[in-house]
């Protein structure tokens, strides 16, 4: 497959934003770029919603005594926070937004392999989100995002709509996953072999494999919870002959790999930002590519480390412990390679690079605390305390959200044809970093001190650290709102972006900003690869006349 040739006239083809006007054309579009923009709007709304819940939770935790919300409300809010953030923001954020937008461009393709399924995945996502949120307003599940049985099967609140909503969101995730796999196999342009694909594609490919294999198990598990809750089938409830630990196994069989669904695309983003701004070939292309696959496969064998105190056998604990050590090695290889890429580069320091620096520090620390909690005897103390919460948020916010913010700044010129204000970008990135650390470093210490998670009321000795954490959360919230404001302002008033403002060699930058409907106006020769910063840029192949 080759990119679409330029039209015979001299006039540049209209960009995808303006090609066909009207709200109806957006809602029925099969253009991967427009679907990506719709996902960007939807996931940003989900982030704001989940963030609002987080602020309410943190505000309650300013004091150890009962506060301005009831315990049941608090329990519903942390359930909502988890469900919205994990299933509506973290899982789709980078693949469905940036993956959708740049994956076909990075392969020199006009669109994904199944454009209509891509559009369908958006509406399935909306349906799942609507069902979940309706269930929350209507009955309000209070089970936590982990839905542990038999609490979830006997909870007095309305669990079924939320569980089925999560099931539907999972379907959307599977649709995106196999679309990406098919696209990567079938739609690479002539001359683009597997080892000259941009690194982001490898990450998305590994992510898609996990999405397609693991998500059905989550669907199965939450559906059984819904059935158990509604019809008392006794699958997980021991009072009816079921096994609650079976649910934990099924849930984590998805949800541990799901952590890699959320972090692998983030690693892919970092793998694009670093070579572009260091103007440097990756320290080891293959190490980055294969470690993504390694994470995808070994990641399936580590779920039991969530069950070290649930009563699993010592043999199980030993195997899951050592597998967790192995999977961390792949992440370590990536950090090593990114830092090595800087060596002898020609580095521009701007907002995406500041996010890269924040990512390396936070992700590496979050990952190393993962090693700590995978050390079985240490996990006994930390399990279900704030230490685990802090570890998880270091990976998910310090990792994924930081990379998401890096990605939005990095690809903003390509997506919207405008530049963001660099100074505001640097300031808000620094505030995000500071607010993040103030929020979650105290939570590590709270976990050490023994404060369990999901506590509405807590012993007074934990108050000082809780207040610090809440202040940090407010700072983080302000920084994120600031980012949203200047990005929205830039949409209209930002400076016009050239086709390739960063001087990147990656393929998506060889098209105008914003790109035309069919992505490219000229053919390009991909054989040099996306990171050939040691050679002069290839001459563009002249347009083929129709």
């Amino acid at each position: 497959v080759t990119p679409h040739p330029a039209p015979p006239s001299d006039a540049a083809p209209p960009d995808y934003l303006r090609a066909v006007p009207g709200i109806r054309s957006w809602l029925t579009t099969t253009d991967h770029k427009r679907i990506a923009i719709m996902f960007l709007v939807a996931t940003t709304l989900a982030l704001m919603l989940g963030g609002t819940f987080a602020m309410l939770l943190r505000t309650k935790l300013l004091t150890p005594e009962p506060g301005f919300i009831e315990p049941v409300t608090y329990n519903r809010l942390f359930t909502l926070h988890g469900v919205v953030m994990v299933f509506m923001f973290m899982v789709p954020a980078i693949p469905a937004v940036f993956g959708n937008f740049v994956l076909p461009m990075m392969l020199g393709a006009k669109d994904l392999a199944f454009p209509r399924i891509n559009l369908a995945s958006f509406y399935v996502y909306l349906s799942g989100a609507a069902l979940t949120l309706w269930g929350m307003v209507h009955g309000g599940a209070d089970t936590g995002w982990t839905f542990y049985a038999p609490y979830s099967t006997t909870s007095p609140t309305d669990v079924a709509p939320v569980a089925i909503g999560v099931f539907v969101l999972g379907v959307s995730s599977i649709m995106t996953g196999f679309n990406f796999i098919a696209t990567t196999h079938m739609l690479r342009c002539r001359g683009l072999n597997w080892h000259s694909m941009p690194n982001f594609v490898w990450s998305l490919y590994a992510t898609s494999v996990i999405q397609v294999i693991a998500t059905p198990v989550l669907g199965l598990a939450v559906l059984l919870i819904a059935l158990d809750h509604a019809l008392h089938m006794g699958i997980f409830d021991p009072a009816l002959g079921g096994d609650p630990v079976l649910f934990e196994h099924l849930f984590w069989f998805y949800s541990h790999p799901a952590v890699y669904i959320m972090i692998l695309p983030a690693m892919g983003v970092i793998g694009e930002i670093v070579p572009t701004f260091a103007k440097k070939h990756q320290f080891s292309y293959r190490a980055l590519a294969y470690s993504s696959l390694g994470i995808a496969f070994i990641g399936f064998l580590t779920w039991g480390h969530h069950l070290f105190v649930a009563g699993i056998s010592q043999l199980d604990a030993a195997i899951f412990g050592v597998m967790s050590m192995f999977v961390a090695i792949f992440s370590a290889v990536k950090v090593f390679t990114w830092i090595g890429t800087l060596y002898r580069g020609s580095i521009t320091f701007n907002t995406p690079m500041l996010y890269f620096f924040a990512f390396v520090y936070l992700f590496a620390f979050g990952g190393m605390t993962g090693i700590a909690v995978a050390t079985t005897s240490l996990d006994v103390h930390w399990h279900d305390t704030y230490f685990v919460i802090a570890h998880f948020h270091f990976i998910m916010i310090g990792g994924t959200l930081t990379a998401f913010l890096g990605a939005i700044h990095y690809w903003f010129p390509k997506m919207f044809g405008r530049m963001y204000p660099e100074r505001w970008g640097l300031v808000s990135a620094a505030l995000v970093f500071a607010g993040f650390n103030l929020t979650f470093v105290p939570q590590f210490l709270l976990g050490n001190a023994g404060m369990p998670r999901r506590y509405y009321s807590y012993p007074a000795r934990y108050q000082v650290l809780n207040v610090m954490s809440t202040l940090g959360a407010y700072l983080l919230g302000v920084a994120l709102v600031l980012t949203l404001v200047y990005l929205l302002v830039s949409l209209r008033w930002g400076a016009r972006a050239p086709a390739n403002p960063w001087g990147s060699r990656s393929f998506e930058w060889r098209s105008p900003s914003p790109p035309p409907v069919h992505n490219f106006v000229t053919l390009f020769d991909p054989r040099q690869g996306p990171y050939a910063y040691d050679r002069p840029p290839p001459d563009e192949v002249p347009p083929v006349s129709a």
Binding site: H281, A317, F336, I347, A372, A374, H381, A449, G450
Partner: protein, 349 residues
């Protein structure tokens, strides 16, 4: 040094026999983590400064490929370090999981939103667990409703408490004091108030407390009427019909005998060798077909929902009390036809 690091990391006091060892590994892992991450970030910062672009024109940069020796060294070094932590951590985990043979058993029942404790000597208590200092205590735990988590931060132990199963945890308090038991597995509206306390007493105080706790049980009409937990188990077993199939003196019957069963290994129908302990016995009551003892027919019904956790615990304690009963020797059936006395030969007066 230990005290300094413990305070710096906000760790609670080390009040159990295992806490100090676990904290030492904790310090090692966390300090190595901090040092390693700071080193990585420092190298990145140095590169960012040293190789920043000084010209407006983008220069060509050399393609530097990571040398294999460096990659092997980084991967090998980290993997070795991680595996070392894993080996030490797993050895400690085995210690946490394996109660010493001489541990005092105490039965724990969790329910929304309280903890109940039952001692083999008979007393029960809610939300306060008195234990002696310097002796290992083994908790045999189950839940009446949903999953709870038994956590004592000062002891560095935690165990999920799962309905339908008996899971154990153990600790040895090394100093007298009062310690919070916090529920760590989310269990509903009042989860964060599901707190109890462990009171660790010096051995003499503990003996006095136990005597005082048993005194009211000896009063006529008191609940349990002076019985120990095992005695109560015997009654429950009789009421629930257990003894219709299980003997307590070693004689063969429909089900395996309870005499000399606890703590011994038993052959199963599928050829395995299992240890008869609290977990096995509880499973056999709740899900009798999970493991079938060799030579027996699976005819036992499930007692899930029939026996309360307290009753199940009492039966387990009763079976435990029979661990040293000498089984009666089965009388061999006589060889040859039995000779009956001939009838009608009575000498009549």
């Amino acid at each position: 040094m230990n005290e300094l690091l413990r305070r710096a990391l906000y760790l609670p006091p080390q009040s159990s026999s295992i806490a100090r060892g676990i904290d030492t590994l904790h310090y090692t892992v966390i300090l190595t983590t901090l040092a390693g991450v700071t080193l990585a970030a420092a190298i990145a910062a140095v590169f960012l400064l040293r190789y920043r672009r000084r010209t407006p024109v983008i220069p060509l940069t050399p393609q530097v490929v990571a040398p294999t020796w460096l990659e092997v060294m980084v991967i090998g070094g980290l993997l070795g370090l991680f595996c070392l932590w894993w080996v030490i951590g797993f050895a400690q985990y085995r210690e946490i999981q394996r109660p010493p043979a001489d541990a005092i058993p105490i039965y724990v029942t969790a329910k929304q939103w309280m903890w109940k404790f039952a001692y083999p000597e008979g007393p029960t208590s809610s939300d306060v667990l008195a234990v002696p200092v310097g002796r290992p205590v083994k908790l045999i735990m189950t839940s009446r409703d949903v999953i709870h988590g038994f956590y004592v931060a000062e002891f560095r132990i935690k165990q999920d408490v799962v309905p339908g199963r008996a899971l154990t945890a153990w600790f040895e308090a090394i100093e007298p004091g009062t310690f919070d038991i916090l529920c760590t597995q989310y269990c509903g509206t009042r989860h964060s108030w599901m707190r109890a306390q462990i009171v660790a007493l010096a051995p003499n105080d503990y003996a006095r407390w136990l005597d005082a706790a048993r005194a009211p049980l000896a009063l006529p009409g008191a609940k349990g009427d002076g019985q120990g937990l095992a005695e109560r188990g015997r009654e429950v077993a009789a009421q629930r019909g257990c003894l219709r199939c299980h003997s307590v003196d070693g004689s063969p019957f429909i089900g395996p005998t309870w005499a000399q069963a606890f703590g011994h290994r038993r052959k199963t129908a599928d050829g395995r060798d299992v240890l008869v302990d609290e977990a096995y016995l509880t499973e056999s009551m709740m899900d009798p077909r999970a493991v079938i003892a060799a030579g027996f027919v699976p005819v036992m019904p499930s007692y899930q929902g029939v026996l309360s956790p307290a009753e199940a615990a009492a039966i387990v304690e009763y079976i435990r009390s029979l661990r040293d009963v000498r089984p009666v020797e089965p009388v061999p059936p006589p060889a040859g036809p039995i000779e009956l006395p001939a009838s009608g030969t009575r000498s009549s007066p």
